[in-house]
Chain length 158, copies 2
């Protein structure tokens, strides 16, 4: 992986609908060469997926909360149990007092409460602590070290 690849990744993160000709003009390659590089980045798993970023409010997901989950037993194998709760967007095993940290999106605080109830039902879970996000400064893609024409700094960046 070189600077050309990093540059392509950054450009594709910014807008994955661009044509290979367009990307190639900006990065200094032909459409075919660009196509081949992107194909290899996908094959190597560097690009895991092409996806669309959706405004949560547009699908009525008005509540974002971060939940720390404490346990009385090892729950390092509980990934599938957390995954079964669709409102959980991310789940990370963390060092420290809590053992799992969750990013949860729901339509209301009542729905969040229901999610907490279902988390408690997972074997080994002793307690949860939810922190509600009042506002989001920004959510942007994983930094890659490449430099797109515009660095995404928030939801208004398209």
């Amino acid at each position: 992986m070189d600077d050309v690849d990093r540059g392509l990744l950054a450009l594709l993160q910014a807008d994955a609908t661009r044509t290979y000709a367009d990307l190639g003009r900006e990065i200094g390659l032909s459409a075919g060469a660009t196509h081949e590089r992107v194909r290899k980045l996908r094959a190597a798993g560097v690009i895991r997926r092409t996806t669309v970023d959706i405004d949560p409010a547009a699908v009525d997901l008005d509540v974002l909360a971060f939940v720390t989950v404490d346990s009385v037993a090892w729950i390092g194998d509980s990934g599938p149990a957390f995954a079964a709760i669709t409102e959980i967007q991310e789940a990370h095993v963390v060092a420290g007092a809590a053992s799992v940290l969750l990013k949860v999106r729901t339509t209301s605080t009542g729905a969040l409460q229901d999610v907490l109830r279902r988390i408690h039902a997972i074997a080994g879970v002793s307690s949860t602590q939810a922190t509600i996000a009042l506002d989001t400064f920004f959510e942007r893609p994983t930094p890659t070290g490449g430099t797109p024409a515009h660095d995404g700094t928030g939801p208004d960046e398209r």
Copy 2:
């Protein structure tokens, strides 16, 4: 927005490279009708962007940390200051003891320390507490209520 739109969103989250004909076959519309619906979803800002999901380890971002930031003054206007630190992927204003919660990706714990130093330099910041993620169960797109053929449950879902 109806169930067809939600279904399209879910399918596009799973794989935004699918053709309109392919999407249409699954959702029960022609390619043209599917194209028109997606165009409207973009125009309405429901789809904020088409992007690629990148494996952080592939770009040497081996450390993920969640940082809570306490303040002695209002830092609700400090979004741009946080955004200027490229290693910060997300920044949320939260209720509770800490006022801002950050998702940070770095190449090493040493680099994380450097990021913490730069966060401390932001006016109003009194202290930070970093929680390092030892493992990630999954990170998946914002739930939309639609049902793709496969629900993304982790990085191996392509």
